[in-house]
């Protein structure tokens, strides 16, 4: 019955952690590749409204972003507290939208242009006057596909705050 006898000095062998760095590096490379750094620095408050009937906006290369909202605290003294439009990295006026769309279109291949979508990332406390102005500008330059970017959530719950 010596088969089941305990070995003498049966210490737990140390787990070999030599391959741990390899595993971690593998994860690291995955996240390095998957990371998309933010393209635009937001200069406005941008708390998106909530909605639940949403559709995904894939093909990120075919999306043009228009931001709107109140200037964030750093810029308040300079730009006031009224909601403004932000295109790329700077504040813009409604009439700059046409030029912005033209520039975005010029940067894309011709066959992709009809599939371009404009994503409106508008702060939930902005007023509709601004949004309507943006929409009118977009109609003028015939950029008709738009997407009101929202967070996923209950639209009615979002209103109560």
């Amino acid at each position: 019955m010596s088969k089941f006898k305990k070995k003498k000095g049966g210490e737990m062998p140390a787990v070999n952690t030599a391959s741990l760095p390899d595993i971690v590096f593998m994860l690291l490379f995955f996240f390095m590749v998957a990371t998309v750094m933010r393209q635009n620095t937001l200069m406005i408050e941008n708390k998106l409204p909530q909605a639940d009937q949403v559709e995904k906006l894939d093909k990120k290369s075919l999306v043009m972003y228009i931001y709107a909202g109140k200037p964030s605290t750093n810029f308040k003294s300079q730009y006031g507290s009224e909601a403004r439009i932000q295109l790329n990295d700077k504040f813009a006026d409604v009439k700059d939208i046409a030029a912005f769309i033209a520039a975005e279109r010029a940067a894309k291949r011709e066959e992709e242009v009809p599939f371009l979508t404009t994503a409106l990332k508008v702060d939930s406390k902005a007023n509709m006057g601004l949004v309507t102005d943006i929409k009118q500008e977009l109609r003028k330059v015939n950029a008709l596909k738009i997407n009101y970017t929202t967070r996923k959530g209950n639209a009615l719950e979002g209103l109560k705050k």
Partner: protein, 210 residues
């Protein structure tokens, strides 16, 4: 000759360094894709021909500067809450009050002669004030889309019971990269059919400037 052992670099802290980098990238990563409400703006037209629409076929919504919602349809005007909007929009769209050529084949509503004729004739119109808040507007849009989706889901299930999925599920399956092209083609045809049956006739009037 003295046997010189090659000095070993202590790699014990390698894992720590890698972890540090890993955590940095984990925190900065944004994998989520944006999602939102897709809409199509009406093209700018020079000729503004007035189309004559029967009053009973319009579901007229107005959001004022205090974010209150007014509804005018079927000869009555009232203030409603946004949470009632979905149900009343469905009732309006699904009414099926038309007769003869305008009869609605699949509507399950009350057939009120003072409300909409059929899916194709029913129009939802939305007007907002310039001072309306954006989140109210989005909530209203969301509810209207929800009403259309509810009907489309129902009609999809009725038309294609063998698929055992509703309109939204079918649309998700269609945009899923894992779906085979053959299935996609079939789904697309069915989705189009339902989209034609229950069209989103939604018009936005230009806001009042005051």
């Amino acid at each position: 000759m003295a046997k010189r052992a090659a000095p070993e670099v202590n790699a014990g802290s390698m894992a720590d360094i890698a972890f540090l980098l890993l955590i940095f990238f984990l925190v900065t990563t944004t994998i989520e894709t944006d999602s939102g409400l897709n809409r199509k703006l009406p093209p700018m037209e020079d000729s503004d021909e007035d189309v004559i629409i029967k009053e009973k076929n319009i579901f007229q919504l107005e959001v004022n500067r205090k974010n209150q919602l007014f509804l005018k349809t079927g000869g009555e005007e009232k203030v409603i809450e946004i949470k009632e909007l979905r149900a009343s929009a469905v009732t309006f769209l699904d009414n099926g009050g038309g007769a003869g050529d305008n009869a609605c084949q699949f509507c399950q509503g009350k057939k009120n002669p003072r409300s909409s004729d059929n899916f194709d004739k029913a129009i939802i119109s939305l007007q907002n004030d310039r001072a309306t808040e954006y989140d109210t507007y989005i909530a209203v849009q969301n509810e209207i889309i929800a009403a259309y989706n509810e009907l489309r889901n129902r009609e999809f299930k009725r038309a294609f019971p063998s698929l055992d999925m509703n309109f939204i599920e079918a649309e998700n399956a269609y945009s899923d990269a894992r779906t085979t092209p053959a299935t996609k083609a079939k789904l697309k045809e069915k989705l189009e059919q339902i989209k034609i049956l229950v069209p989103q006739k939604f018009s936005e009037a230009e806001p009042k400037s005051n």
